[in-house]
Symmetry: C2
Subunit: 322 residues, 2 copies
DNA sequence: TCCCCATATGCTCAAAATAAGTATAAGTGT
DNA sequence: ACACTTATACTTATTTTGAGCATATGGGGA
């Protein structure tokens, strides 16, 4: 009844990735979807839930998790369509974990998926994704307009504005879950349809082919929670180094941060900020991988947590005009 | 086996408070301690866990919860001494909720407790609490020095430095849980002893009478988690208004923020920041409660969430010297 | 070899945010 | 009228941020 699911994330080749289990049974449509690795929580053998998680992840995948953090406990009725039919409610405690790029080999039965294959609207590294203007904005506004009364119309429109930053509200990268939930409610992701919550007909929009890869049950929701959490976390805890190799160039570090944050960063300022925070120290070696001038290799300065109250990678929130 | 516990917080008379159930059975020592209100999670009657929580809180206490957020799921073996003896492990999903000052009447069997009666070391509104220098710093360092080998000594000392800000590390108000856990491990809070985890003798320090009111089981740990979360949250979400009456003066608002944050704020700058964020708007009325010049009454400007990506009460992190 | 290209790194400058005051306003109670 | 209290406005120096230009240092091809 109670199990533990793991969102195991990394960044390889400048691309943020997450570990998913490929469907073993491609016969039924629903189970053909990839899913999060999960395992049981066994109170008699595991002192804490986190220990239990580490144990079965190591057993199943061979991965040695570095940073692990409990995310959220998911127990809504509609998370598992099978349970609705009368079985016991399944409850899962979700965890996020980060692993090193180097240890990011592929465990059997699983595969690394690009985060932004699942959440294409979250990738702003090359500017605002056209998907938002082409599909999401019009469809979501349609959905808002299709609400029963004036009040719920206004509420839906406001939620959409805040979540997606319509009309100058501005994009807040951390609101990943709010955005996914809106798309879910509006029936724009494939999961909605499967769940059968939303009655088709009457202004019902259809899951759009460009809104990313659907996952098993509510697993994309769990991932949205995880991405939002990670984005918030890198700003005030040095978790980004959990995915970096022992030595790295500043540009590699920037790429990793950009990957998770889903936003481009100003190169010169990034290095200035990282240096100012005392997050890294030079190793003395250089890397000539890139073609141009060789970049200096740095390592994480562990001491930073003893010096700063909230060490993390500072990021622009966008300059406020007024 | 799975239940929901609620940390219900408010601020009354400038003092942050939390709702606890007083012990009904004062015969046994352990159960004489106050405890968090809790209720079962009933999957068949409640669609979501949050709904279930709201329902039984309303039933039990009559309180109408405003802001509710899931905190953490607690399932460690030692959270419930009874379960260790062989019973089923009890797991609880903790929630934080905020209620209005006005609705903060006392439900039967429960009482409002000052947060800082439970966490005296967290209240820096009148400067650094002497408790830290008098008791915590020496005792914690003793505990660190009593570790087995040199490495764990260093680790303990580092953890203490970071958590309590010894040696210029600086106090990070959000690390409430880390601090409580250190005190717990060092045997400085009464809960440690009850749990019987730490063997007495050999360098064992004793729970100190000044380290706050002990609660049932791991409930003070849950509260520490909640306080840390709230402190972080008020900076980037306008949750503080959940505890304010509909109209309030800026100084009342400041007092509420200071109460939760546990730190004093510069009055003139506070009002400037609040105004600059557009968090409030004047009601036109004034309040003559205070004796001096009457203060203007403000109300929360709901629109702020539509304008700013992360509206909240900005607070000084302390100017960085280097 | 020398020049071009690519990337890395250093530096400048203006705009905005912040910390910490000082000064003034507008009430109450004596 | 006066002292006292609290509220609010304004000033100033400093730090942080956003953005761009300039220079450094390698590789590869003419």
């Amino acid at each position: 009844m109670l199990d533990l699911s793991a969102v195991i994330a990394t960044v390889t080749l400048d691309e943020p990735r997450v570990l998913l289990v490929k469907a073993s049974d491609p016969s039924s449509e629903a189970s053909a979807r990839p899913r999060l690795p999960f395992g049981p929580f066994n109170p008699s053998s595991d002192r804490t839930m986190e220990e239990g998680l580490r144990r079965w992840v190591e057993n199943q995948t061979g991965l040695n998790l570095g940073f692990v953090e409990q995310l959220y406990t998911f127990g809504d009725r509609f998370r598992d369509p099978v349970a609705i039919a009368g079985g016991a409610r399944s409850i899962t405690v979700g965890y996020v974990a980060l692993v090193r790029q180097s240890s990011a080999r592929r465990p059997a039965g699983s595969d690394w998926f690009d985060w932004y294959r699942l959440f294409p609207w979250e990738d702003w590294r090359n500017g605002r994704p056209s998907l938002i203007e082409d599909v999401i904005q019009p469809e979501i506004l349609l959905w808002a307009a299709s609400a029963e009364d004036a009040k719920s119309k206004r509420l839906r429109r406001e939620r959409a504005e805040i979540a997606f930053g319509f009309n100058d509200v501005g994009w807040d990268a951390d609101r990943v879950l709010e955005r996914y939930e809106l798309l879910y409610e509006a029936g724009l992701v494939a999961e909605t349809v499967t769940d059968g919550r939303i009655k088709t007909g009457e202004g019902q929009t259809e899951a759009h082919p460009r809104t990313g890869l659907p996952l098993h049950q509510d697993h994309r929701r769990i991932l949205a929670t995880a991405l939002g959490r990670l984005r918030g976390k890198i700003r005030y805890r040095p978790v980004i180094f959990e995915v970096m190799p022992p030595a790295f160039t500043l540009f590699q570090l920037q790429r990793a941060v950009e990957g998770l944050a889903g936003a481009p960063l100003h190169k010169q300022n990034f290095r200035r900020l990282v240096a100012a925070e005392g997050l890294v120290e030079p190793t003395g070696r250089v890397s000539a991988e890139t073609g141009g001038r060789p970049a200096e290799l740095f390592r994480f300065r562990r001491d930073v947590v003893r010096e700063r109250p909230a060490p993390g990678v500072r990021m622009p929130r966008g300059r406020r005009t007024k």
